[in-house]
């Protein structure tokens, strides 16, 4: 009697988590920030997020199709990149320019190198930088926070608290009624997302905590206001969501620590001394580039391993 028995290599069962469940968790973790963006910047925020997510997914789908590669849209990573990019933009960013950013992120930085896991640079970060350099006007004018359902928010151009240099109350910085990109303003929402990611074991706390503590300590040492720096700009969204990207950060905990340390130092240097008021994007990108070296230096010692050439 012929039986159709499945023969596979051990192990014969796996954890229920898949790449798409992990990405779905990231999307859920970003949801509070999206809600906060809608609260402060109106329905335009939702529209921009939708456009970015749709554009990213479409670009990835088309690329894979045209290059005759297996479809990868199902793993939701394109959606995550789209949403992250949207949350890094001002709520009044013109749709066309945001779509250009999505193209850079998905096609140039990610798919051209082979797709998920093969990129060495964080797609959303590079796209944000490219948009900053190309469309500086759009990227440095921030709509002032209004309320939800207000349609297009007042074009009262406000600089971010960092750029303005004026003292903003900490509570405003924490809750988000300030100028800034859609996702970076409400720290409370970001922290909620952080807790969710930790609980679901998507990320470990190493990178975000090390990054934020380094910025806090270093800005204190250099005479700045550490709480202001902790709560301003893209630091929190960068530390929690962008620096922790699997593919572009080191694989071991020790490597992650070094990575986050570097990010923190560079961020403070950029914030204090460079022309740009915001240094998080550049810091993370530079550390992405250093990551292969960090990985090379932080190999784990095998249990009982003997130090010879095998």
């Amino acid at each position: 009697m012929e039986q159709n028995l499945v023969i596979t290599s051990s192990p014969h069962f796996r954890v229920p988590a898949t790449t798409s469940t992990i990405m779905r968790d990231v999307l859920i973790a970003l949801a509070p920030s999206l809600v906060a963006a809608m609260f402060y910047f109106g329905m335009r925020a939702l529209a921009l997020a939708a456009v970015c997510v749709a554009a990213s997914v479409i670009f990835e789908y088309l690329y894979r199709r045209l290059m005759k590669l297996p479809g990868s849209v199902g793993d939701l990573s394109a959606a995550v990149t789209g949403l992250l990019l949207a949350l890094n933009l001002p709520a009044d960013m013109p749709f066309f320019k945001a779509i250009v950013g999505c193209f850079v992120a998905i096609v140039v930085v990610k798919q051209l190198f082979g797709g998920i896991g093969k990129n060495f640079a964080n797609p959303a970060i590079v796209a944000r930088i490219v948009l900053l350099v190309s469309f500086a006007g759009n990227m440095t004018t921030w709509p002032a926070p209004g309320g939800m359902f207000r349609g297009v928010p007042d074009m009262v151009v406000g600089a971010t608290p960092l750029a303005a240099g004026t003292t903003t109350p900490y509570m405003n910085l924490f809750l988000g009624s300030i100028g800034g990109s859609m996702g970076e303003v409400c720290k409370l929402a970001l922290l909620l997302g952080f807790v969710y990611l930790l609980a679901r074991r998507v990320i470990t706390a190493t990178i975000p905590l090390t990054y934020m503590c380094t910025v806090f300590a270093l800005s204190l040492v250099l005479g700045g206001d550490p709480v202001l720096h902790l709560l301003s700009g893209g630091l929190m969204i960068g530390a929690i969501f962008m620096a922790t990207d699997y593919s572009t950060s080191p694989t071991t905990e020790r490597g992650k620590f070094i990575f986050a340390l570097g990010c923190g130092v560079l961020t403070v240097i950029f914030r204090f001394y460079s022309n740009y008021p915001e240094g998080v994007s550049f810091a993370i990108l530079i550390m992405n580039i250093v990551t292969p070296h960090i990985d090379g230096l932080t190999k784990i010692k095998a249990f009982g391993g003997v130090k010879n050439d095998g």
Partner: protein, 384 residues
């Protein structure tokens, strides 16, 4: 005998020298013949630009007494028909100095403003150069009353200051009283070196900002050890070449023979590389073998020629030039080392067939270049 001469230490150098000497003579001859024609054409073009800011003027004569001008005003041209003056006025903007051409008429009113040279944020800073904005100064006798452009405050400030400087200069040239001498902040020795180093390694990295030396950058960065070896060799050549070309330029060539710089420098670089190669082969054969074919390739590395020429344009002193070339080499090394890591990571990548090899490497290099943009302005920030 001929063979020995050709392949020895002296032979190739002599041949190279002869070749360069002949080319130099041809160049010199051409230059002498065409110099007056070029000068005249240049003058006419410049006059035309100035006429744009001082309508009604014809030709211009340069104001000789540059010493009495206020800081930032680089030149003054008086219209021969008495309509007024055109001031070349530079002030600090977002990304360095921004130069404006400002025309002032006999009544002390601004007649026109043109943005001459700038390195400002594309899009943003350029708005300051738009007619709708800058022409707000036309008709003013002072530089007040014009709002800054949000998001381009520094560039707007530059224009405001430049106009202010031009109007002060107007006072100087019409009344004859020299401008008060400002305390110019000169940067002292060690600080200057630090500034040069930080600039050339981070802010104006030769590979990532100036895009020089891309060929070895792409070719040798695949493995970390060869990347390091190449960088060390390049740094060494840069310093040696600077040490030789700087005195040649400042004591031999001077202003008069400036057009000979390129060819003379190339000759020097080629000779230095040749000399180093032979010397290494004789005294440090292991290192020579390790560097292999990369060593003679340094001759064609445009970054090396670049650093020798840029030493001149930046008007560095001898020591500053040496520091500059050291920094350029170090910056090259930094870029190579960083990129070596990326290349290693890219071995596991799967680009499309058409992008495999150099194309995807260039894309990766562009991402690396973009990341260094963050350093812009760091020098001013760190060293005031």
């Amino acid at each position: 005998m001929m063979a020995k001469f050709r392949d020895g230490l002296v032979g190739p150098t002599v041949i190279l020298f002869l070749f360069c000497a002949v080319t130099t003579l041809v160049l010199a001859f051409t230059n002498t013949a065409t110099e007056p024609l070029i000068l005249q054409a240049r003058q006419e073009a410049a006059d035309e630009t100035r006429q744009q800011v001082l309508p009604g003027a014809d030709s211009f004569a340069e104001w000789e007494d540059a010493e009495s001008l206020p800081g930032g005003v680089e030149a003054v041209y008086e219209a021969r028909n008495g309509t007024g003056y055109v001031f070349t006025s530079a002030a600090k903007g977002y990304n360095g100095a921004v130069t404006f051409l400002i025309g002032v008429n006999r009544k002390g009113e601004v007649t026109g403003v043109n943005m001459f040279e700038d390195d400002e944020t594309p899009g943003l800073g350029a708005r300051v150069g738009e007619d709708s904005y800058k022409d707000q100064y036309v008709g003013n006798t002072d530089n007040e009353g014009v709002d800054k452009i949000q998001g381009a405050t520094l560039t707007s400030n530059a224009l405001k200051n430049a106009v202010g400087q031009a109007l002060s200069a107007y006072q100087v040239v019409t009344t004859g009283t020299p401008a008060p001498r400002e305390e110019t902040k000169t940067v002292s020795g060690l600080n200057a070196f630090l500034i040069i180093l930080v600039s050339v390694i981070l802010v104006d990295n030769y590979v990532l900002s100036k895009f020089l030396g891309i060929c070895p950058f792409l070719g040798v960065s695949k493995k970390l050890d060869s990347a390091l070896g190449m960088s060390v060799a390049v740094t060494f050549v840069m310093i040696m070449a600077t040490a030789v070309t700087w005195p040649i330029n400042n004591y031999l060539l001077g202003e008069r023979y400036a057009y000979l710089q390129t060819i003379v420098f190339i000759l020097v670089i080629a000779s230095v590389v040749q000399f180093i190669e032979v010397a290494l082969k004789k005294y440090m054969p292991a290192l020579h073998k390790a560097l292999g074919v990369y060593l003679p390739l340094i001759t064609t590395n445009c970054a090396v020629l670049g650093v020798t020429l840029l030493n001149i344009t930046e008007s560095y002193s001898f020591l500053q030039s040496i520091v500059n070339s050291l920094g350029a080499g170090l910056g090259f090394m930094l870029a190579m080392v960083l990129f070596a890591g990326v290349r290693r990571r890219m071995e596991s990548c799967a680009p499309p067939k058409s992008f495999d090899g150099i194309p995807i490497t260039l894309v990766a290099a562009s991402i690396l270049a973009v990341s260094f943009l963050g350093f812009s302005g760091v020098v001013d920030g760190l060293f005031g």
